[in-house]
């Protein structure tokens, strides 16, 4: 027995106080990073600290962030969905086609979400139903979904969305507070509750930690996974509505290569790529970090490709840092 509890009758609920564990957490570290970037940006460029700039900066991550919320849950369950950008393209194409024949705003929203859900269900059937590895399945569906968009649209573009449709991606709820950021925060709260406060969320963690033990504990593993893929599809559909509205047009190349950016936000947010660990709060902060970094570097007119060196390095460093710190601490603790 490793622990020498004097009497087994008195097992406490927790050892650390909630405050202490919060300070030790990944989210806190990430928050420090975000604050540091914010301060750096404020000093590095005079244009950063203006309400409109800050508002514009949020557009750099809101749509990807919304998908990242669902992606986080998929990754926690031990799977991955690389087809999200493909779903987005297909959903946007479907909305475009509907708009051509005169669909109104509510119909477009339903179609965008609906196509997202259907694509998600298709992934879900392959991954949960046929028990195929999600990483390769979604590499396939990534091409399939976007490929269908190419077949439909070819070299054409859909424009001419109804007037009210532009609100989702371009509208402001109040002053500089955009509809997108509000929606992102609402979705964040919903996903926070779903992952951390419901038994569904608990099952997701259990599955990611130990698929088999979760099944033996009476969790309907395949059903949960199916729902997760459907949910991710729905979020990709939602992002399609926002992005299409923001661009005011659809081409099959829309949101090209976003899947990796979405995964980057999730991983940066502390979601363990091996499954079983991570939190929504981390993903939300990671979204802001990405937005602040790319927008800040943009204000300094750093070329995009050089910017990507920063984000790539940041990903590696932020993930490596706790590991290195842990090693050093261990070394110091041991005489």
């Amino acid at each position: 027995m490793s622990t020498s509890a004097p009497s087994p009758r008195s097992i406490p609920d927790r050892l650390d106080s909630p405050l202490l564990s919060a300070l030790k957490s990944w989210e806190f570290l990430l928050l420090l990073v975000a604050v540091a970037i914010f301060v750096f940006n404020s000093f590095a460029t005079p244009y950063f600290l203006s309400p409109w700039s800050l508002s514009d900066a949020t557009f750099n991550f809101t749509e990807r962030g919304i998908i990242a919320l669902a992606m986080a849950m998929v990754i926690i369950s031990g799977e991955i969905d690389l087809s999200v950008a493909g779903i987005l393209a297909l959903a946007s194409t479907a909305m475009g086609a509907a708009a051509q024949v005169g669909a109104g705003v509510p119909e477009l929203v339903v179609i965008g979400l609906g196509v997202g859900v259907l694509c998600g269900m298709f992934n879900g059937i392959l991954v949960a139903g046929l028990k195929l590895p999600s990483i390769v399945v979604t590499i396939g569906t990534m091409s399939l979904f976007r490929g269908i968009a190419y077949i439909v649209l070819g070299d054409q573009a859909y424009t001419g969305y109804p007037a009210g449709f532009s609100f989702f991606g371009q509208g402001y709820v109040y002053w500089v507070i955009s509809f997108e950021i509000v929606l992102f925060l609402i979705m964040a709260v919903i996903f926070y509750v779903l992952l951390h406060r419901t038994s569904f969320g608990r099952s997701v963690y259990a599955i990611g930690n130990n698929n088999l033990a979760a099944r033996f504990s009476g969790i309907r593993v395949q059903r949960v996974k199916f729902i997760l893929f459907m949910l991710t599809g729905a979020m990709a559909g939602l992002a399609a509505i926002l992005l299409t509205s923001r661009l005011g047009s659809t081409r099959p190349s829309i949101a090209f290569a976003w899947e990796l950016e979405v995964v980057t936000i999730a991983v940066l947010g502390g979601i363990s790529i091996l499954g079983g660990a991570g939190s929504i709060l981390g993903v939300v902060i990671a979204g802001f970090v990405m937005g602040l970094v790319t927008f800040g570097l943009g204000l300094l007119n750093v070329p995009g490709i050089v910017m990507s060196i920063f984000t790539g390095a940041m990903l590696i460093i932020v993930i490596a840092m706790p590991i290195v710190i842990g090693r050093i601490r261990n070394r110091l603790a041991r005489p």
Partner: protein, 326 residues
């Protein structure tokens, strides 16, 4: 027959044969030997990269930076050739391979020493490598007339009816075959993928084996880098963009299990060839260019379903009665 059916490689070979037959119906010229050689030639780079990726996937890792690595090494050799036109081509190839190995080693060190998940590491290095090309070249292209004749001509020279380009692929296949079946390292790479814990107990350093896998994949990326820029006679930041997923797809089609430990050199080669045939056939049989992406997606999904069924364990049979039946 049972043996043939049991081995994925034969099934894949059959699928490729059927595919070629179907294409030939639409376009008779496709089956001409000279065309098949051309298709092989065109697929060489994919084959080479798929083998490198296979080694990494076998160890339960993935190398998403393989195409960016190729592009960076390609730019390095192209620029060296531009600045020092007298450097002999073999030296450039060696430099390309070494540069690729160094980049692969960087991935490998992070995976080995820091125990970071490879997908995260290579997602990061993918963008870092790409960005480095831009910095290195200041965004300029290296164009055909800036490359020496020898540089461009070497892989194109024909040797016994095939371009040297193809011979490179064949040589790489041979080296990998020996590596995977005849050397302790090759066996260790399999072992690490089949059961990492058991590998530790067997005296195999899991992290170090993965490190070598990344170095190997880096080396082939470096070699492919030279081949790529020499073949297309141009080097710029975006070459081979998005190619990493195609390489992974070739491995998947070839039956390399993404969970590690399962897969053969033959499988990876055939998987790459299958994709190569499809990609070369689509333009000539008049499939709309817009349908190509959807078709390759569908092919990948079908291959995954197929491979998974082949892989699914038969299960132990306890009952005598049932055993007699099977």
């Amino acid at each position: 027959m049972a043996y043939v059916l049991k081995h994925r490689e034969f099934i894949l070979l059959g699928a490729i044969a059927v595919l070629i037959a179907l294409i030939t119906v639409r376009f008779p010229g496709f089956i001409a030997p000279v065309n098949l050689v051309r298709v092989f030639d065109d697929t060489s780079i994919l084959i080479i990269l798929a083998l490198g990726q296979m080694v990494v996937i076998l160890t339960r890792c993935i190398d998403l930076s393989i195409a960016a690595n190729l592009a960076l090494c390609g730019m390095i050799v192209a620029m060296l050739n531009m600045i020092f036109p007298d450097l002999p081509v073999p030296a450039l190839i060696a430099i390309g391979i070494m540069a690729g190995a160094a980049l692969g080693a960087f991935n490998g060190i992070l995976v080995w020493k820091l125990d970071m998940p490879s997908i995260v590491v290579t997602l990061g290095t993918m963008t870092i490598f790409r960005g480095s090309i831009f910095l290195l070249s200041s965004g300029q292209w290296v164009n055909a007339h800036q490359m020496s004749e020898a540089f461009k001509a070497f892989p194109r020279a024909t040797l016994i009816g095939m371009p040297v380009f193809s011979w490179f692929a064949i040589a790489v296949i041979a080296v990998f075959f020996v590596l995977m079946t005849r050397t302790p390292l090759g066996r260790a790479l399999y072992a690490v993928g089949v059961n990492p814990t058991a590998s530790v107990y067997a005296g195999i350093d899991v992290g170090r084996s993965r490190f070598f896998a990344f170095v190997i994949s880096g080396m082939v990326a470096g070699l492919a880098g030279y081949l790529w820029v020499a073949r297309y006679a141009v080097a710029y930041t975006d070459i081979a963009g998005g190619f990493e997923l195609e390489v992974v797809a070739a491995c998947v089609i070839g039956g390399i299990s993404i969970a590690g430990g399962i897969g053969t050199v033959g499988g990876a080669v055939l998987g790459a060839l299958f994709l190569g045939v499809v990609k070369n056939a689509l333009p000539v049989i008049g499939v709309s260019p817009f349908a190509q992406m959807a078709i390759s997606g569908a092919v990948i999904i079908i291959a995954v379903i197929f491979n998974a069924r082949a892989e699914r364990k038969k299960g132990r049979i306890i009952l005598r009665k049932a055993e007699a039946h099977s």
